[in-house]
Symmetry: C2
Subunit: 640 residues, 2 copies
């Protein structure tokens, strides 16, 4: 008799053999199939729903499933015990995208409905047949080209750079006056004339892609979406650590580094190199050439934008926290050091303040907060926590200096969400023994942000820490001990880890995490109070930032990082900044709308706000001093 | 008894001793005082009029002097025989400015009447007191600066370069928010917003000059006028050979040189170096710094402008003779390679065609042809002969490929008008012995343009050449001989020259000169015919180009280089191109007017015109096949 069963996941290649009694989650893990587990596999969130196509499983729990769901074969993977060979269908929307910084994290991007390159796109390509000059018509080359373009486009004012002027005489003749012109019409920006970006001595086939790219410069990760502007399709995505990271994890340390005289320009070069490499990678994949990219949009926080342009960022850090510029003019790629077509138009999206940058204005568009009637909280969880409260009619925004604790910094065994990071933790409330899930499988090396949230929530739930975050060193387990940093909890023993050392979380780590989550929660409170709404009246909570995607909502609520609202009110949107940059790349009206958003937002400076300090102090507990703000947690605690 | 007399020229230093019977011209020459002699000292033009303050002279002729002139002590220097010690006043307007290319050829420039920097100047300087940022007003630096500028100027749209953006945060704080901004308002150019050129962390004193410069790029000579835009005064002038001259004397040879692949950019660098050196020189003299020059205007022929911008000029030379661009956008100095303030606005004046450039449009303004009611011919005598016929209501223009014969090229002993050049010649019609005047005195080295005109006229008058330009080798003088180049005339024997070789003019030289003057004269004819006016209805003849200043009108008419009209109809205006650039530098309305002029001019392409060929053939004689066009010459010839 076989005590193993064959589990087949549809579209996932070869089946796996698992022992009787395994969960489908375990089988999926073994098979390399990712299944979302916001609740950590406790059968409570219902996110890990799968459909059993054939074979039998036993349902440990059917919470969040209706009877008809069960009849139709649906099951929660974490609660499904394998009892025969089974074939399982995992709905695609439930697949976890690993927050690995890699080119393979390509995301499915839908071209905005009704995208019409003629109407929406500022970048246009024209095949021109120009009358050659004669003794009777000695019009100069540039006027002749302008004349043809005016006839083709109806544009009155067209300009050209010196660099291109130096070439047009040759190009026009080489092409026998049959040429293709790439023009930025500057539509929607009446202040500036149209501009010829490039000219080629040939007529391009009409289906040759017309390349543009959307760039998001995160403090940690830089993302590039290479897009065919004719169809709107993202044809290649690439992402990589911001190479500046060697000189500081967060914007403050970058600013300090950049402000030192002899470092001037180093961070600019590093981010340029990062972007240029990513562009090259994306081009390789899409069979494009960087010099065929004629337009780019850029999102990023204010510090990233200043450093990109080598504008000193020192005053962003110093009170009263002033940027040099929020609304940037258009630049040419070459003038900025970007290796696209040298004349490519680069639109940098607008910022609102020192700590509410173009990533937030772009995200406010792409998340939909700026278009909705609902009272919405939009948060971009990156290295900092920036948030916007409002709807299409009003928006208030602030930034919490949460610091990079949730990115693994300031935590002894913290690390980024790459291979070897513990991303999810379960602690047995009797034995206080942990179970862990490691990105990429194998032995763990440290704990990433989602792992820390999960860990802290589990420690709190299992009584390893009290509501002040103090480790209960009286517990009857060797996992808890007084380490170099007061109390600490051992998550993995040295012989279980890839580096042969214990992986622990210390009192100091917990303190840092509490401060980070308290800053973020205080942000919600101050924003809501500033416009006189209560947290409970917020109808939806949109979370941007790739990190957001991996937050275990239940745990995040348990520790007081997210407000206590129905799980279905949370939407994880991934990188909303690059999405906003992409939508602005396609449509000048979106670009205009993002400028309006930047002007529309009321910025609240938290560092000058006593209310923020009070709210922060109240939030330095698990989940909060005021348990009425966390009814579900209070209820759960009460039931223990 | 003394047979010498002391001649004192007022303001000319020590007196000179001359033998009884000397002319005042000779005394002036000896004293280093230059007196204009358009007619070559024959007492006919009246240009060498001087005033005898004390002492006695004998007047050989009083032609062109009234009785009352004589009573008042006036005399023609060339006709005044010294008989006692005399003191002579030479009116300043009659002083010859040597056409030496040197910084010392500074010309008196009158600031245009009514110049009002507030109303006319696009470059403005503002001392700003800006509200510093606070926690309650976190407006970004650039918006804050814009706000202050808008209040000060009323300008709505103001832009700034990335280069300056990188500095403003530091400058604003270094100056404690008290700063001076230099702004190009772009007034008169509604297409472009105002632009901040520079920002300083200090309030400038109101009398500190605000520097701009006018630049004329001649094929041979480059001229820079450094100007205080607050007063309009030219504070320093500098001029020097265009360093491109080593790679060709005329535009055609420059284009050929530039069109060779490996030469690309060389001519641009040479002219940039020439300009940058001249700017530095002018700055030294005016105690200015090149980086304090915020604005420049540039005139020059189309080839010079193309080479300045490194735009290939090859098609200017090839039929159908097309420039790449006639109406240029504004550039920043640094983008062009000019060492002024890097952000300085550089306005390049417009061209009309391949051979009617910005030197002509600038000259058409500064000469006054574009503002007058009179039917006027304006000619710029440079390396090429460009001319404009018209008035304020209409203008036709053409360029004659006259070649540089009158600049001394293509002539065996030709040279430029520098020290050692024979600039004026008289030939005794009996002995055929010449008298010569040499620039800078001393032994001659060659013959410059004005000397060639003078020589050709004298040879024709004295019968050394016939009307076809053939040397009469039958004359009873060793001056005439059959040399290597058919007939030739020896102007100076080897022992009289600085290089110890005979200075001659050959049949080939004469042929070249005839072709050059015929091309120019044919130009007049075609222009006049194109609009149906006769040469005789031309009311004034304005001659620009520093060369023009030294033309002996009488001789130029004798050889058929200038049309036969009363001498007083000719005005020599010097460098009209730099003057036009200077006036455009001061006043945006002038700049606008010059653009209108460029649009208003009808260009006539002579190379496509059979009428030009016919007119050219008819003009290949001294003075012309049709003597009715030269009644004064016909009359003089008849009287011989």
């Amino acid at each position: 008799m076989s005590n193993t069963h064959k589990v087949t996941f549809v579209d996932a290649g070869a089946p796996v053999e698992v022992p009787t009694g395994s969960t489908l989650t375990e089988a999926a893990h073994q098979c390399g199939v990712d299944i979302n587990q916001p609740c950590g596999g406790q059968g409570r969130c219902g996110r890990c729903v799968v459909k059993i196509q054939s074979g039998e499983i036993r349902r440990r729990s059917t919470l969040r499933l209706t009877n008809s769901d069960v009849e139709d074969g649906y099951a929660l993977a974490c609660q499904a015990i394998v009892e025969t060979d089974v074939e399982v269908y995992v709905p695609p929307q439930e697949k976890i995208q690993r927050r690995l910084v890699t080119d393979l994290t390509a995301r499915k991007v839908t071209v905005p409905e009704g995208y019409d390159p003629q109407a929406h796109q500022t970048l246009q390509r024209y095949c021109l047949s120009i009358d050659p000059p004669t003794m009777d018509d000695q019009t100069d080359d540039w006027s002749r080209l302008q004349r043809a373009l005016r006839q083709e486009t109806g544009l009155e004012r067209i300009e050209i750079s010196l660099h291109l002027l130096q070439q047009i005489g040759t190009i026009l003749r080489e092409g026998g006056w049959q040429v293709t012109a790439i023009v930025d019409t500057n539509q929607g920006d009446s202040e500036y004339p149209a501009s010829v970006i490039a000219l080629y001595p040939i007529h391009f086939p009409s289906d040759k892609p017309l390349w543009g790219c959307a760039i998001d410069i995160g403090t940690t990760t830089v993302t590039v979406w290479l897009t065919d502007l004719l169809t709107g399709q993202v044809r290649a995505q690439s992402a990589e650590y911001n190479q500046q990271i060697h000189h500081g994890e967060d914007v403050i340390s970058r600013i300090i580094y950049d402000s030192k005289d002899h470092n001037h320009g180093i961070l600019q070069n590093l981010v340029l190199e990062t972007i240029n490499n990513l562009v090259e990678k994306a081009c390789l994949r899409a069979k494009a050439k960087p010099e065929e990219i004629y337009k780019a949009t850029v999102a990023g926080n204010s510090t990233m934008i200043h450093l990109l342009l080598n504008i000193p960022a020192a005053n962003i850090r110093l009170s009263p926290f002033i940027t040099t510029i929020n609304h940037l003019p258009k630049f040419k790629a070459a003038a900025m050091g970007l290796r696209l077509h040298p004349e490519a138009s680069v639109v940098i999206l607008p910022s609102v303040a020192s700590y509410v940058g173009a990533d937030i204005t772009a995200g406010a568009y792409s998340s939909g907060i700026a278009l909705t009637d609902k009272t919405t909280l939009f948060m971009d969880v990156g290295t900092n926590g920036e948030m916007v409260l409002g709807s299409k009619d009003w928006m208030v925004t602030c930034a919490c200096s949460a610091g990079p604790a949730f990115e693994g910094a300031g935590v002894l065994d913290g690390m980024r969400a790459t291979k070897g990071a513990i991303e999810e933790v379960w602690i047995n409330s009797q034995t206080h023994e942990p179970s862990i899930r490691v990105i990429g499988g194998g032995k763990p090396r440290g704990i990433c942000g989602s792992g820390l949230i999960s860990l802290l929530g589990e420690m709190f739930t299992a009584g390893v820490v009290d509501k002040s975050g103090n480790v209960n060193t009286n517990l009857d387990t060797s996992r808890v001990r007084s380490g170099d940093h007061e109390g600490e909890y051992v998550l993995a023993w040295a012989d279980e880890t890839s580096h042969g050392k214990d992986i622990v979380i210390t009192h100091v780590d917990i303190d840092n995490l509490l401060r980070a989550k308290a800053a973020i929660f205080a942000g919600y409170m101050v924003l809501a109070e500033s416009v006189g709404v209560s947290l409970s009246s917020i109808e939806q909570f949109l979370i941007g930032g790739s990190f957001g995607q991996y937050i275990n909502v239940e745990k995040a609520i348990e520790i007081g990082l997210l407000p206590d609202m129905p799980w279905e009110n949370f939407q994880f949107l991934g990188n909303t900044a690059v999405l906003g940059a992409y939508e602005a790349l396609l449509n000048w009206q979106v670009n205009e709308k993002i400028n309006q958003i930047a002007n529309q937002m009321t910025y609240i400076e938290l560092s000058a706000d006593n209310k923020f300090y009070d709210a922060f102090m109240s939030a330095l507990f698990l989940p909060h001093t005021d348990l009425t703000l966390f009814p579900s947690v209070a209820k759960q605690k009460a039931s223990q």
